[in-house]
């Protein structure tokens, strides 16, 4: 089967000398929902930033068989929708419409298509009618939904989300999980929230200190208390 993400022996060192990733191997196949779990500072976010070339390490990452290189960046960023943890960072425009339209406009779609994509993306996350609202006046749950819409408007094949449920109350969290369940694309989710992992992801990757320390079926990994304890995920 074709891999949607292929990473071989990837290492990354931050400019200040801190090692972010060490020899990471990861293959993701179509239809998978993958959770990336691990303690704070394990390198989860660093790994996510490699999926669309914001960070580039020493070895090639391939997205849908395209190597992540300067000339492919535009195509890759269209296929990989990356949603950042803090929606205040993700939503930088003065109103919701401009934010959701930002990606499609950058891709050079026509005005008609941009509007259609914005309407569709907002419909998917249940936020139709919010086009002219200012992001600052939305609730955290609403901001998170709009943040997802800002990448859905590009019709990505892979949705990469950093900490989707942080700062959400249980009700918003579960309705958010329901929303994510309904999205058909491959999802890669970095989180500490093991309830979310169990509800949404079939496969789980455990990271610690920049390395992948376990990779397998979610049930198996979450039931392995010794493994979780060893990496600060249970006490």
């Amino acid at each position: 089967m074709d891999k949607v993400i292929e990473i071989k022996n990837l290492s990354f060192t931050y400019p200040d000398g801190r090692q972010g990733l060490k020899n990471v191997d990861l293959n993701v196949y179509p239809g998978e929902n993958v959770a990336v779990i691990g303690p704070n500072g394990a390198g989860k976010s660093t790994l996510l930033l490699h999926f669309n070339g914001i960070l580039r390490g020493n070895s090639t990452v391939k997205i849908c068989r395209l190597p992540v290189e300067e000339k492919n960046l535009k195509e890759i960023r269209k296929r990989v929708g990356l949603v950042f943890q803090d929606p205040e960072d993700q939503l930088f425009s003065l109103n919701v419409f401009d934010d959701v339209a930002f990606g499609p406009i950058n891709m050079g779609y026509s005005e008609f298509e941009v509007k259609e994509r914005v309407a569709r993306a907002l419909g998917w996350v249940g936020m139709g009618g919010y086009e002219q609202r200012s992001p600052h006046h939305l609730s955290v749950g609403e901001k998170k939904r709009i943040a997802i819409a800002t990448v859905l408007s590009l019709d990505p094949e892979i949705l990469v989300i950093d900490e989707p449920t942080s700062n959400l109350d249980p009700r918003s969290k579960w309705s958010f999980i329901e929303l994510l369940k309904q999205l058909p694309m491959v999802k890669i989710i970095a989180t500490h929230d093991l309830e979310l992992v169990r509800a949404l992801c079939g496969r789980t990757v455990v990271m610690d200190e920049g390395k992948i320390v376990a990779d397998g079926n979610t049930e198996d990994i979450l039931d392995d208390i010794t493994l979780l304890k060893a990496h600060g995920l249970a006490h």
């Binding site: 960023r77 950042f84 003065l94 406009i105 950058n106 992001p135 800002t150």
Partner: protein, 256 residues
């Protein structure tokens, strides 16, 4: 936390609100130029201009008290700049005071200019309040963009407007955290703490800037700023523009 935006009331609906931002921008600019260039002795013209702006304010359905309160904000600034004019302007002496050896005299023409500066700046600020309270900032920026203001400036202004409240919230949280640890002690210590907070805020903003840039890159940003053109210049705009300009010129014709 909710903040009152500078474009408060811009989501009301009125004839003025529905005008194209470009029409309003140009009209405001024309109004300010006309007010500033009117000679000080022509007080009737100022009354006339005040009537224009008052009619527009009524048409725009803005709460009068709100407009008045906002317009008063300008006075301390103007007063500080203009307060010395009566003492330095030459002319007929209105009053002269001796303090020991020094003599201070106030002239009529100086007082007249001071009053005139106040009236002019008040009229201008009323015009700007009308503009900013009837136009969403996003639309205003779009209008400026289409009038040829460089994209980078527009982007900076829009980021400023988007994040100033995020920063205000951050400052508020920092102050709360500071006060809950019994902020006090010597004056020097307090100043140092405030300095540290400013530094922290700067670093946080810098890091936020980096994250926002990453979020922009992730959605295909390549340094080119692109926008959809949505503003439409309608017939009402043409009519309004024409009538408004005629009104501005009107006093020149009759009182020239």
């Amino acid at each position: 936390m909710k903040h009152s935006f500078i474009d408060e009331y811009s989501d009301l609906d009125s004839f003025i609100h529905r005008l194209d931002p470009r029409t309003k921008l140009i009209a405001s600019l024309a109004f300010i130029i006309a007010v500033v260039l009117t000679p000080a002795s022509n007080w009737r013209v100022f009354v006339f201009y005040f009537c224009i702006i008052a009619v527009l304010l009524i048409l725009s359905k803005l709460p009068p008290l709100y407009v008045l309160r906002r317009s008063l904000v300008i006075f301390p600034f103007v007063f500080l700049i203009a307060v010395f004019i009566p003492f330095f302007k030459e002319g007929e002496i209105a009053g002269s005071y001796n303090i020991w050896l020094w003599q201070i005299s106030v002239t009529y023409s100086g007082l007249f200019i001071l009053a005139n500066v106040m009236v002019k700046s008040w009229l201008c600020i009323l015009g700007l309040i009308l503009l900013s309270s009837t136009t969403r900032l996003a639309d205003l920026l779009k209008g400026l963009r289409q009038l040829g203001v460089p994209k980078v400036m527009i982007l900076i202004l829009s980021f400023m407007y988007r994040y100033i409240f995020v920063l205000a919230d951050e400052v508020m949280r920092m102050q709360r955290a500071r006060d809950s640890r019994n902020f006090g002690g010597s004056r020097l210590h307090q100043i140092r703490t405030v300095g540290n907070m400013a530094g922290t805020l700067f670093i946080r903003s810098y890091e936020r800037g980096e994250r926002i840039y990453a979020a922009m890159l992730a959605r295909g940003f390549d340094g080119q700023i692109r926008t959809l053109h949505k503003l439409s210049f309608r017939q009402t705009d043409a009519y309004f523009g024409a009538v408004f300009c005629l009104m501005l010129i009107f006093p020149c014709v009759i009182w020239w």
